[in-house]
Amino acid sequence: MILLRRYLLYLIAVILIAVAFTYASAKLYEEFAFIKNDNWQILPSPGDKDRDMYTRASVAMRGTFALSKPEAAYFHAFNDIEDVKLMGNCTYNIIGDDIESRWWSITVYNEDGYLVENDEKIYALNSETVDFNFEGGFEIFLTSEDNFISEISEKNWIRVPNDEHFSVALRIYLPGEEYFSKLKRVDLPKIEKLSCKDE
């Protein structure tokens, strides 16, 4: 009985050590594996068959069926340009230029990584649905404020979840092979906070 109890303790210790290694590697992975470009982050080879096992595990948890390069580049933003977490009670704008590619899209996700519930059924804007300005650029508003949406209804906007952190994905399809060698330097849209409800 004592022997059994001892082996049970060993087993629990091994499991705890494994969980600790996994937790630490997940934290370190986020710090080192992603390429950062302003407020955006990207895994350079999310779906590639020769990716390392940590990338494979991370992608499986975050997106499951990611395409390999050069098919698509997936950028994600969890923070604004000031490096503050994106929050649903604030209004943001995304300002950028058209992106040279087959097509691109900007999608908003709730904290769990799912599309944000909204009556308008607008979950994303893409290179065909966004209204470009005269200079060829665009401005997209991210907000949960009904009044603000009524004011800017003719412009580009996507609803964000109220009082909850959210993230933004920028998908770029067929941007060209060389795009992947300069992920740190490519021009990407900027996400800036305009106002918050409690300010």
Binding site: I17, R56, V59, T64, Y123
Partner: protein
């Protein structure tokens, strides 16, 4: 080294090995989790079509709201799978994911840009030589997933894309 330190080192090594096993098998387990209903929905070696994702869609995390997804879950243990579809004028791709979620092959408009498309999907270790009427893809695992993505753009072509998606055909060569 005293026996306590020896035991601690051994536990740490075993714990680290267990951690590596967890990391290694996470993608395969995620694939099993995502596909937990595939068999009862009769999706193995049959085509499926999904509506455009909405906020109710929770099958996969971070779905693309601009893409109409179709595809087939495959099991090519005994026979190759024959996949046939028309390709749309908009962006499309057909990508293959092995059991551990690797995207081991993608066919898109750069390799075929008009009309009908035929593909033969073989299991690991196959060296097919007699296929002349379509693309040959060899999967590193017997089981996996093929996904067809069609860009909906401004939505004006959704009806046609739905039609293509519904006519996607996957069947085992011998059936």
């Amino acid at each position: 080294m005293n026996s306590f330190l020896k035991k601690l080192s051994l536990l740490a090594i075993i714990g680290f090995l267990l951690h590596l096993i967890i990391i290694y098998y996470t993608p395969t387990l995620m694939m099993k989790y995502v596909g937990r209903n595939w068999e009862e929905q009769n999706m193995i070696n049959n085509s499926f079509a999904r509506d455009l994702p909405t906020s109710d869609f929770t099958e996969v995390i971070r779905p693309s709201a601009d893409i109409l997804y179709g595809g087939c879950v495959y099991d090519v243990t005994y026979f190759p799978l024959v996949i046939e579809t028309e390709v749309p004028e908009t962006y499309w791709s057909i990508s293959f994911f092995s059991e551990n979620t690797d995207n081991f092959s993608t066919i898109n408009e750069n390799s075929h840009n008009f009309g009908k498309l035929k593909m033969y999907l073989f299991g690991p270790g196959s060296t097919p030589t007699k296929v002349t009427d379509g693309f040959v893809v060899v999967s590193p695992s017997n089981k996996g997933l093929m996904l067809m993505r069609q860009f909906v753009g401004n939505g004006s072509n959704v009806k046609k894309l739905n039609e293509i998606q519904n006519n996607l055909n996957c069947k085992l060569q011998d059936s």
